[in-house]
Amino acid sequence: MKYVLKVENVVKKFGDKVAVNNVSFSVKRGEVYSLLGPNGAGKTTLMSMIAGIIEPTEGKIEVLGGDPRESSIRAKIGYCPQEPVVYDNLTGLENLMFYAGLYGLSGREAKRKCNELLEFVGLGEYGKKPVRTYSGGMMKRLNFAIAIIGDPELLMLDEPTTGMDPRARRSVWELIEKLRKEGKTIILATHYMEEADVLSDRVAIMDLGRKVAEGTPEELKKEYGPRAVVNIELVKLKPEAIESIKRYASEGRVMVEENLLRVHVEDPDEVTPMIISELIKHGCRLNALRVSRPTLEDVFLKLTGRRLIE
C-alpha cells in the first residue's frame, strides 16, 4: 500500500465554528509529513480525526485502507498528544504497562517491551519512579514511549517539543530520526518552523483551518520564500568590484551600506564562491561572510501575512 493516510475534503465544525475547512492530503509509507501552523490553525483537530477520536463533519479519512474509528485500525496508529497522558501516582513502567494492555500486550512480553521502550526514550533508570517526580521533558519522552507501545505503522506526534528547552527538543528530534530510519510513517503537527524544516519530507502549511500550501521544505521556500542574501563585510571596497558581481545577483540586486555588500541570489551554494573570487580579484579584502537563506517562517509570512509565533 503506497499511501498510509488519505485525507479527502475533510471539514470539522463545532457548532458554527469551522475548525478544519476542506483539507485534503495523502501521506506515503515511510514519509515524515508535517502540519505546520500557529495555534488555532486546526492541526490538533485534524490529528484527532485521523486518530479516530472524533468524526469529520464532512469528507473522508482513510488510514491504512480503513476507517480510524475502527478498533483494529486504531491498533496500528500511535498517537502522542501535546499534554502528558500519564497517571501521576503510577510509575513510568506502570503507565507503560497500562497502555500496553490497551494494545493487547500482557505479561512478560509487555514488561519486556515496556523496559525496552523506557531505555529507548532514555528513561531506563526512572522506570520505577512515580511519574509525579518526572520533569516536563521526561513526561514528554514517556508520552513518546506510550505513542509507540503498540509498534504503530502510523505515528502521530502533536507538538512533541512544545515547552521544551533546546537540549530536550534535540533529544526528541533524535528519537524521531531513529523512528524514521526504522521506516515508520510519521505525521508531525508543530508550530516550530525549524522542527518542520529539519524533520519533514513534506510539509503542509495550515492557517485558520485551511491547508494553504504543501510540498517539501525546499520546494516551499523556493516557491514562496524570498531570495537568499549573501552578506559580505569588507575591509576595503572597490566600486568596480560591485559592477563585476552584479551578474551573479538575482535581477542584479546588489545593495551597498558603507563596507557591507548584500547580494540577492538564486542559489547561494553555487554563486557565493564566485562572488568571493571576483571580489578578491578586484583587490577587495574580506572581513566577514554570512548567508541568509529563506525559512518556512518566511513562507508562512508570505502566504498568510502573519508570523507563525506572534
Binding site: 472524533i54 498528544p81 502528558p84 497522558v85 506502570e94 497502555y99 494492555g101 493487547g104 500482557s106 503498540g150
Partner: protein, 416 residues
C-alpha cells in the same frame, strides 16, 4: 468482543490509583471503620445493657420505732434493692428537707423520700403516708425516675400486703382460711399481672445493635464510594487529559466501562470485608456468615447489587457535573445524605413519615436491609427474596441508564 488485556489493564491501573491515594483510602476504609467504632462506643456504649442506679435522698422521721417495717428498715430495703445484679438506688440520708429538695432541684439527686413519724406503726396497723419527690434532670430521666420510684413503692405495697395477709390468715379458722386468703389477695392485688419484655430480635443485645450499625456504615460508604466511582469514571480521565489518548487507542468504550466497574467492585469488596471485620472483631458486632446456608450466599450478591446500583447512579450524576471536584463533592454529599434519609445508616423508624416513605422506595435500602436481615436477624431465604429481587431489578435499570450516560459523556468530551 471484549479484550481481557484491556479490561485487566484498567483494573490494575484503577486499583493502583485507589490504594495509593490517601484521600480515597480515608473515605473508603478509615471513615466507615470510624463510624462503626463511634456507633459501638458512643451510640451503643458497653453500659447500655446495665440497669441504671438512681441517686435518692431520704429523710427519716421514724427513728426508734419498734415496728417490724419501720423507717430504718425501709432505708435498708432501698439500699439493698438490686436489678440484674446492679443496685437500684444510691442513698443519701438528709436531716433537712429544704436541703434535700435543693439538691433535687440542682440535679444532684434523682428523687427523694420523706418517711413520716409512726411510719412503721401505721404500716403495720393500717395505712401510712410516704412523700416521694421525683427529680427532673431532663425529660427522659424524669420519666425513668418516676417509673422506677412508682414501681418500687408498688412493689413494697405488694410485699407488705402479702406479709399482712399471711400474718392475718394465722388467726382465721381453717375451714374459711382459703376463702379469706383469696378474698384478701383480691383486695390487695385484684390484678396479678405478669410482665414479659419482648424486644425485636435485632435489638436484643448490644452485639446485634452494633451489627445493625456495622452494616449501616458499610451501606453508607458503599453509597458515597459507589456514587463517586460512577460519577468520576469519565470526567476524571477528561480532567487529567488522558481521555483522548485512551480513545485513540484500540480500547473500546465497553472495555473501559467493564474495567472501571470491576475495579470499583473489587475496591468496594475489600472495603466491605474490612468494615465487617472491624465491626465484628473490634466492636463485637453480631454478624453471621454461614457458608452452609444458601441465603448467606445472597450477601455477596447483594453487595455487588448495591455497588452496581450506586455506580450506575453515580454515572447518571456525572451528567450534571463538569469536573472531578464537582463530581466528588456531589457524590460525597449525596451519599451521606442518602445514608441518613434512606434508612441505610440511621433507623428509618426514627425518621418523619415522608422520609420513611422515601426510604421504602430506595432500592439500595432494600439490598442493605436484606443483608442485615440475613447476617444480623438471621432471616431465611423466603423472607428476604422480595427485597433481593426488587433490588436486582432496580439495579439493572439504573446501571443500564448509567451506561447510556457514560457513552453520551464519552462522545461529548471527545468533541470538547
Amino acid at each position: 468482543m471484549i479484550r481481557w488485556s484491556a479490561v485487566k489493564a484498567f483494573i490494575v491501573k484503577e486499583l493502583l490509583e485507589v490504594f495509593r491515594s490517601k484521600e480515597i483510602m480515608f473515605w473508603m476504609i478509615a471513615w466507615p471503620i470510624l463510624w462503626v467504632l463511634l456507633s459501638a462506643y458512643i451510640f451503643v456504649p458497653p453500659s447500655i445493657e446495665q440497669p441504671m442506679t438512681l441517686d435518692i435522698g431520704v429523710i427519716n422521721h421514724d427513728i426508734g420505732s419498734q415496728a417490724p417495717m419501720n423507717g430504718t428498715y425501709f432505708i435498708e430495703i432501698l439500699n439493698t434493692t438490686e436489678y440484674k445484679g446492679v443496685k437500684l438506688f444510691r442513698i443519701k440520708v438528709y436531716k433537712n428537707e429544704t436541703k434535700m429538695i435543693e439538691d433535687i432541684r440542682k440535679g444532684r439527686l434523682d428523687g427523694g423520700f420523706i418517711i413520716p413519724k409512726k411510719f412503721g406503726e401505721n404500716v403495720t396497723m393500717g395505712q401510712t403516708k410516704l412523700k416521694v419527690y421525683i427529680g427532673a434532670r431532663d425529660v427522659q430521666s424524669a420519666q425513668i425516675t418516676n417509673a422506677i420510684l412508682r414501681g418500687f413503692v408498688e412493689g413494697m405495697n405488694k410485699m407488705i400486703s402479702l406479709i399482712k395477709i399471711k400474718e392475718t390468715l394465722k388467726y382465721i379458722p381453717k375451714n374459711v382460711r382459703e376463702f379469706v386468703r383469696s378474698w384478701s389477695l383480691g383486695i390487695a392485688m385484684p390484678i396479678n399481672a405478669t410482665f414479659v419484655e419482648v424486644k425485636p430480635k435485632v435489638l436484643m443485645s448490644r452485639a446485634t445493635i452494633i451489627g445493625w450499625f456495622t452494616i449501616g456504615a458499610l451501606g453508607m460508604s458503599m453509597l458515597y464510594s459507589g456514587l463517586s466511582i460512577g460519577s468520576l469514571m469519565v470526567v476524571e480521565e477528561k480532567d487529567r487529559g488522558t481521555l483522548k489518548r485512551l480513545l485513540a487507542s484500540p480500547m473500546t468504550s465497553t472495555e473501559m466501562l467493564v474495567g472501571k466497574t470491576l475495579a470499583g467492585l473489587i475496591s468496594l469488596a475489600v472495603m466491605s470485608l474490612l468494615v465487617i471485620v472491624a465491626g465484628h472483631v473490634m466492636c463485637g458486632a453480631k454478624i453471621i456468615w454461614n457458608p452452609t446456608r444458601l441465603e448467606h450466599w445472597l450477601v455477596p450478591l447483594l453487595l455487588i447489587v448495591v455497588a452496581l446500583f450506586t455506580i450506575g447512579l453515580g454515572s447518571l450524576l456525572s451528567l450534571i457535573t463538569r469536573s472531578v471536584r464537582g463530581a466528588s463533592a456531589l457524590s460525597t454529599i449525596l451519599g451521606l445524605m442518602l445514608s441518613f434519609l434512606a434508612g441505610v445508616w440511621f433507623p428509618k423508624w426514627m425518621m418523619p413519615t415522608w422520609i420513611q416513605a422515601f426510604a421504602d422506595f430506595f432500592p439500595a435500602t432494600w439490598a442493605i436491609d436484606a443483608i442485615r436481615e440475613i447476617m444480623v436477624y438471621e432471616l431465611e431465604m423466603k423472607e428476604v427474596m422480595f427485597k433481593v429481587a426488587g433490588s436486582i431489578v432496580a439495579t439493572v435499570v439504573v446501571y443500564g441508564l448509567g451506561v447510556v450516560a457514560y457513552k453520551h459523556l464519552l462522545r461529548k468530551y471527545a468533541e470538547a
